[in-house]
Amino acid sequence: MVRSGVGKSTLVDSASAAREAIGRALAPLAGASPRFVWVFATAPHDHPAILAALREAAPGARLAGCSGEGVIAGEASEEREHALAVLAIASPDVFFEPFLIDGYGADPAAAGRALAAQVAAVKADRPLALFVFPDGLVGDCTVFLDTLAEALPCSIPVLGGTAGDDMAFVRTYQFLDERVASGAVAAVLVHGAARIALATSHGCVPIGLERHITRARGGWLDEIDGRAAWLVFKDYLDGDVDDLNAEGVIHLSLADDVAPESAAAALDDRERYVIRTPLGLDKERNALFFPGGGLATGRTVRIVRRDPDRIRESAERCARRILEAARGHAPAFVLQFDCAGRGQVLFGSCAADHIVRPLRTVLGDSVPWVGFHTYGEIAPVAGRARYQNYTVALCALFDDA
């Protein structure tokens, strides 16, 4: 049986925040020692202090997680300077093997292979899922995921999100036990007697005609349909916009058509496209930078706009898909990796009402629930783990297997 508890703190002092959060998370375990603790914290926190305090409070537990633009805990979405969310898990039948792979920023393919090797070394009988939290500011996540998928000893769902900071785009952090790294990948292999259900949704609406990337290199998108990528974007932006921080930009992205050509016509937007968002602008070249890689020359894309109403509806559908997989059981816990662009920036102070509570209403208000606001979401689409933006990746674990 899986016992789990969520704790949250918005205290500024990191050690105090950790003590407060873990104190709340341990309470529902009824004295059972946690085997593993998920840790998600905002970037300005003193992470070593957090991890030290958590280790002190839960000495036998492994810790893993990363920094986020904000954290999700219970029904709350906290996008503030100092926020911390933890999920403590005690279970004799479900196992959590955390990893920390350095050098992701410099060589994502090597990181993918290294992680696959470490996963293979675990020799898990029933691998359920591999959660990955790469640095959100460096590294080609697509290369990492592709390499990982090829190197893994078996096919298991890979999901998670890239680590973030507080929209400063300066440095993100990955955690393992008491170690804090940057430019790395934190990962957790979950295996054992349980079931996993996954779902994703983005809620974006393609607009305009299909377009083709005519020049791209190293994450930089130079041309779409033979025209400078930034100028293509500007056609859809109101006013005299000259940087990516303009509010209009956050409503505009690219949809990368990832479906096989033969099946494309039969798929809906969710299954066919992954959303990609530019986070850098080269004004001289009018080129846009898309972190995560994958947008190569020749790919078919569409401009998409975000629709706040559709985001909510789409998220609810996502939760219902998990509910269908629940077979009448309540999830032991749920992990939510949601885009930093779908929180406060879109919904203001009531973001949780749009992106967390509707999901909990479907899956159960009392389900232990934790997550963070990512710089990129990772979840399987069209048969492969893909780097995405403006998306929610939802994962529920059921211990009824």
Partner: protein, 632 residues
């Protein structure tokens, strides 16, 4: 497909694409406007919250804490610091400014950090700068200087808002900084467009700090006033108690005077009435002289009534206490009073059904009710309603009476009227004897004095409430029956002894005129009389007489040994000797001498010859019954 058709479709697609772009741009404009609107609302709400949070706050630090939190929550700032150097010039702080920082500890909370911020704010204040609206070359230079004073880059100092006191002096500041690394575009950057908001916030803060001073002043003043009020209330209470004591002492003094006068009058009246009786008996019927004597007797009786009331006021009347059912008494008295008060006045009885019984003299209580009702009647020349109320005593009665007693051991009989009421100056004297507002023809001014004296003598309390034009309420608070205080056992009435049955009666009275009346009345009734002016003389006379004395009639107060001592000495010789004590003093005085209770009969002065003879007859008969049981 023909080329023309393809071209048409391409043009249509291009048009649609343009329309889509337009719609997307409009949507962005709408979203931007909505976001700005929401932020504006949030700022207004923030100001409102700030104002609400500052209401009634006495501590400036609390206001500063609210202010820095508002600044940090509203804008994309790393830290906000608020300083208040003092309430204002009227109440300077002791030098240490109040400081608040959000998040706590984010600003260098050291002395140097705070001092630097304070100095910078003072410079901003002197330069009339409220950054970030530091525009113009001079403004930018001043802003840069302020930032340098705080150890910040100019861009990092996003707000330096000096605060002024109402008199325009520097009072403090709110400063905020933002590090270069932050670029949280979803949070609002503080920039010159926010100057109106900052000015509003500044005004709110200045008012809140001033309100803080005023609130503190007000509370302090309130405390002073409360203390002064308490002192005043204590003084008034002391004064009231002193007045009550004075009034009580005054009434007591008047009572003693009245009692003393009444005692002397009683002696005189006994003589006057006695001799008048003798004269009446000697004057034949039909003689004009007999009518004169009758007039003297009647006047004497009226005078005796007055002296009785005086004694009542002086708490010196003889009371026969018993358990009195107030409802029954009021009902019975009410029936009698209905005729007395006339048709224009309604008498209403308001009874508490289960009210406890009082322990008092029933006859005197009836008289008291009569007096009060008559008084109420006279206060209602145009008619109205008189209410006789019975109920249990309450704490309110304790308060109104101005005395300390346990209300659970008392019952109330109140008489209320709708009459003309009394002003305070009348109310203050209403219980004094001979005080009357009715004129000499209407009353002697002894009715309420009797009520007062009676209730006090009954260990009760009296209060009066009255207001001109709104009637009066007289409340008699009477003790309830106490454990061990049962009903007064009715005295058996043996057949009176035959007048002139040969018995010998010893009469001892130091007043020769009174003694003469008593001796003559007893002698004329046929008994043998031995008379003496003192106890010693009485003992001598008894020795000289040599025979049995059947009854001792003695004044209580005699020179040297009093009547009680004489009775005791004679009872050593004749243990069953009946004793009739006569006195102008109240029975309590005798009871204090351990004499009267259950042992001796008392005949109060003034008495008539008939009363004396009747008492003597009764005592002799009782003595005879004791000696000869069954004799009738």
């Amino acid at each position: 497909m023909p080329l023309a058709e393809l071209e048409r479709l391409r043009r249509e697609n291009a048009t649609l694409d343009e329309q889509v772009k337009l719609l997307v741009r409009m949507e962005q404009r709408f979203h931007r406007a909505r976001t700005e609107h929401e932020r504006e609302l949030a700022r207004i709400r923030t100001l409102g919250d700030l104002s609400l949070a500052c209401i009634g706050v006495e501590d400036p630090a609390t206001i500063l804490e609210c202010a820095v939190e508002v600044m940090r929550a509203t804008f994309d700032v790393d830290a906000a610091l608020a300083i208040c150097v003092g309430d204002d010039e009227r109440r300077p702080n002791d030098g240490a400014p109040w400081v608040a920082c959000a998040p706590p500890g984010a600003w260098e909370a050291s002395e140097a950090g705070v001092d630097a911020a304070r100095r910078a704010a003072e410079r901003a204040f002197d330069a009339s700068i409220a950054s970030p609206a530091a525009t113009g070359e001079a403004g930018r230079a001043a802003h840069a200087a302020l930032a340098a004073a705080l150890g910040l880059e100019p861009a990092a100092l996003v707000a330096c808002m000096p605060l002024a006191s109402p008199s325009g002096r520097f009072r403090g500041a709110l400063v905020a900084r933002r590090g270069e690394r932050r670029a949280a575009f979803h949070r609002e950057r503080l920039d010159p467009k926010h100057e109106p908001f900052l000015m509003l916030m500044r005004a709110h803060l200045e008012r809140a700090l001033e309100s803080c001073t005023l609130t503190r002043d007000l509370r302090e003043r309130g405390r002073e006033l409360a203390a002064a009020n308490a002192d005043l209330a204590a003084s008034l209470e002391e004064l009231r108690r002193a007045q009550e004591l004075l009034q009580s002492q005054k009434l007591q003094a008047i009572g003693q005077l009245a009692g003393g006068v009444a005692h002397d009058f009683n002696n005189l009246l006994t003589v006057i009435l006695g001799h008048a009786e003798f004269a009446r008996m000697r004057i034949p019927a039909g003689s004009p002289a007999r009518d004169d004597v009758v007039q003297v007797i009647e006047a004497g009786n009226r005078a005796a009534t007055i002296t009785q009331q005086l004694l009542a006021f002086g708490r010196k009347q003889r009371l026969t206490k018993e358990v009195v059912d107030l409802n029954e008494l009021a009902s019975a008295t009410g029936r009698m009073l209905a005729r007395l008060i006339g048709e224009r006045i309604q008498l209403k009885l308001v009874f508490q059904p289960d009210v406890a019984s009082a322990y008092c003299d029933r006859g005197q209580l009836e008289q008291a009710v009569l007096n009060l009702v008559v008084n109420a009647r006279d206060a209602m020349p145009n008619g109205g309603e008189i209410r006789i109320v019975t109920r249990a005593a309450t704490a309110t009665d304790v308060e109104r009476c101005g005395e300390e007693f346990d209300p659970t051991r008392y019952v109330v009989l109140a008489v209320e009227d709708d009459g003309v009421g009394m002003p305070a100056e009348v109310r203050a004297h209403v219980f004094e004897p001979f005080f009357t507002t009715k004129g000499l023809a209407s009353g002697a001014g002894l009715g309420l004095a009797m009520v007062y004296g009676y209730v006090k003598q009954s260990q009760g309390y009296v209060s009066v409430e009255s207001e001109v034009g709104r009637g009066s309420t007289f409340t008699l608070v009477l003790p309830t029956e106490r454990p061990g205080e049962g009903r007064v056992a009715p005295r058996s009435n043996p057949a009176p002894a035959a007048v002139g049955d040969g018995s010998t009666i010893l009469v001892v009275e130091d007043d020769p005129t009174l003694r003469m009346v008593a001796v003559r009345a007893i002698g004329e009734a046929g008994w043998t009389v031995i008379e003496a002016e003192s106890a010693d003389a009485a003992l001598t006379a008894v020795e000289k007489h040599g025979g049995v004395v059947d009854l001792l009639v003695a004044d209580v107060v005699l020179p040297r040994a009093d009547g009680v001592e004489l009775a005791n000495r004679l009872r050593k010789r004749w243990p069953a000797l009946p004793v009739l004590l006569i006195s102008g003093y109240p029975p309590e005085r005798l009871e204090a001498r351990r004499a009267l209770a259950g042992e001796h009969r008392l005949l109060a002065k003034p008495f008539t010859c008939d009363q004396l003879v009747a008492e003597a007859q009764a005592l002799l008969a009782e003595a005879r019954d004791a000696r000869e049981p069954g004799h009738t």
